[in-house]
């Protein structure tokens, strides 16, 4: 029976619209349990493990932000390392003025959001490929400007002060918790943003930009908001990076590898799904840990896998899971349940 025929023969009250094809109460509870267990990790495992986990948190935060940019707003940025570096440097500058790095983190994230405004103004007119390389040039420019200030270490960088009072165990645990907090907050922010009005506008733009514009969607504003949030998120990840490395070096924090890692993790996990970056980060950590003794090989393999996935399986690994199990951990679309029992996906699905 077609939808129109069904609508004619059944009262409206028999139609239901839900966020997901399945009830998500259990996935929500599951997510909460996972976060609680993760929060208990410093009591349960060796500090070597939590150090590796902090790295995973940084990549996951970055991947979530890149997913928001490329997967939802169509902005392939190759310059997000600008914000990673700025976040790290804002923490360093505040720490040099006697503020605890942990307290400096939120300030650094907000600072990156403010820095995103002029950077957006410079690149907002560009589309696709030109946007991509222009953000790359911007990141290089930001690094060159930072390197001019010898008071924050010039071209060689500085160790991060203000944490020597903490015992190593406590420092590792605090770093872990702040990394976990940033990741959870980043994922939650992306989820809530996409569930709300912005998600609808972005879906409309993705399907047909001209139609979205003519229906009154504020396309420019939506893209600005995404760029801003991604700047804040990547800045926060950079701040966590500075705290976990205990030093800030321009070539390391402004490295293109950050953008490579966030992009590959997102593409492999599944572009345009919130679950994708999580799966992609798991793949990244797996590769990184197994190939750690072979220098650059993990990035080569990671890149090759990302190319293959981008060419042959646009929806990534999470797409495969979704096809088999019909499940979404973070549902942001809408589903129409009809009386005949057929379910139809729609906006944002």
């Amino acid at each position: 029976m077609s939808l129109v025929a069904e609508a004619a023969t059944h009262p409206v009250s028999e139609f239901r619209v839900t966020r997901s094809r399945r009830n998500v109460a259990w996935t929500g509870a599951g997510a909460l349990i996972v976060v609680v267990v993760l929060a208990l990790f410093p009591y349960l495992v060796y500090s070597g493990t939590t150090t590796i986990m902090v790295q995973a948190f940084i990549v996951l935060t970055l991947a979530s932000m890149w997913n928001l940019l490329a997967g939802y707003a169509g902005l392939v940025s190759v310059g997000q390392q600008a914000f990673v570096g700025l976040g790290a440097y804002f923490v360093l500058i505040l720490a040099l003025h006697g503020i605890s790095p942990f307290a400096a983190l939120p300030v650094a994230a907000v600072g990156c959001g403010i820095a995103a405004l002029p950077l957006w103004w410079l690149v907002s007119r560009l589309r696709s490929g030109y946007f991509a390389i222009a953000t790359w040039v911007l990141a290089a420019t930001v690094m060159l400007i930072i390197e001019k200030f010898s008071s924050i270490g010039g071209g060689t960088g500085l160790p991060l002060p203000g944490l020597s009072g903490l015992s190593p165990t406590l420092l590792t645990a605090y770093t872990y918790w702040i990394g976990l907090a940033v990741t959870v907050l980043a994922t939650l922010t992306v989820y809530l943003l996409l569930r709300g009005r912005l998600g609808l506008v972005l879906t409309a733009i993705r399907d047909d930009e001209v139609a979205a514009r003519s229906s009154g969607a504020r396309v420019g504003l939506a893209r600005l908001l995404v760029f801003l949030v991604a700047g804040i998120g990547c800045g926060a990840a950079g701040a966590v990076l500075a705290i976990s490395q205990l030093q800030v070096q321009p070539s390391a924090v402004f490295s293109i590898s950050w953008t490579a890692e966030m992009a590959f993790a997102t593409i492999i996990g599944g572009l345009g799904t919130i679950e994708g970056p999580i799966i992609g980060t798991a793949v990244y950590m797996l590769l990184q840990q197994t190939l750690a003794s072979f220098n650059a090989w993990y990035l080569i393999v990671f890149g090759l896998v990302a190319i293959v996935v981008a060419l042959f399986n646009r929806r990534g690994l999470w797409g495969l899971v979704d096809d088999r199990l019909n499940v979404r951990l973070f549902p942001v679309g809408y589903y129409l349940h009809t009386p005949s029992g057929k379910r139809r996906g729609s906006a944002g699905a």
Partner: protein, 291 residues
Amino acid sequence: MAWVNAIIQGVLTGGLYALFACGLSLLFGVMKVVNLAHGDLAVVAGYVAIGVITVTHIPVLWSFVIVVPVMALVGYALQRTVIQSSLNRSVLTTLMVTFGLSVVIENGLLQFFTANSRGIGSGLSLVRDSFKLGSQIQIGYLPLVIFAAAVVVLLGLQYFLSRSKYGRLIRASADDQEAVQLAGADYRHVFGIAAALAFATVALAGIAYGMSSQLAPTTGSDVILLFAFAAVVIGGLGSLWGTLLGGVVLGVAQQIGAQISISDEVLAGYIVFLAVLVLRPQGLTTRRAQS
């Protein structure tokens, strides 16, 4: 006099940057593909040249006779496989795939050839010698040769695209692939030819940069891709002569920056690039953009 010298050196460097830029510009103009692996492929060409010179002992300058056709073949093959199939999916896919290629190539070079930088033919008199104009201006033979090569390449491309049969096919395919297909030509093959041409210029760019400076795995994105892009944007889209002008403006900006402080060379170039992006986003040569 130092300033005049800086400007002359900058103009000559502009030839090299135009050589960097014309492959990027050609691929974008024909296929709307921005090849983020552009610079890394130029570095690969440079490394191939070093290998060819060491193995066959041919004169350094003639290495391009082997490297250019090899890279053209690589370009055709890449276009017909990876680039075309990503183009069939979406423009975003081409970006992700070429970015992936860029990272893979850069780290592959790092893994196999270490991070050491290497030059091409650094012992040649052509590379080292220069002549004097007056008492303070010294002009190297190599920058002059590279500038001349860039002009020849741009003239050749211009002539090829506007006069030859394949040039017409390339322009037609850029306009409307389906119409070309209906008229009996295979646009994928035509795109392959365009990519082969672009990669031939990439090969020249790699060799030229290897001779005038040093190649390292990171040179591809840090220098070649970003400078090429800056030259394209400054000069204006889709104009081959604009590319030369863009390269010259970038080169002069860098040399003037270097005059102020040696560490400001690259930054000065980027600042001019950003200024053009803000004040004249359509570039210096093209009139108001259509969109």
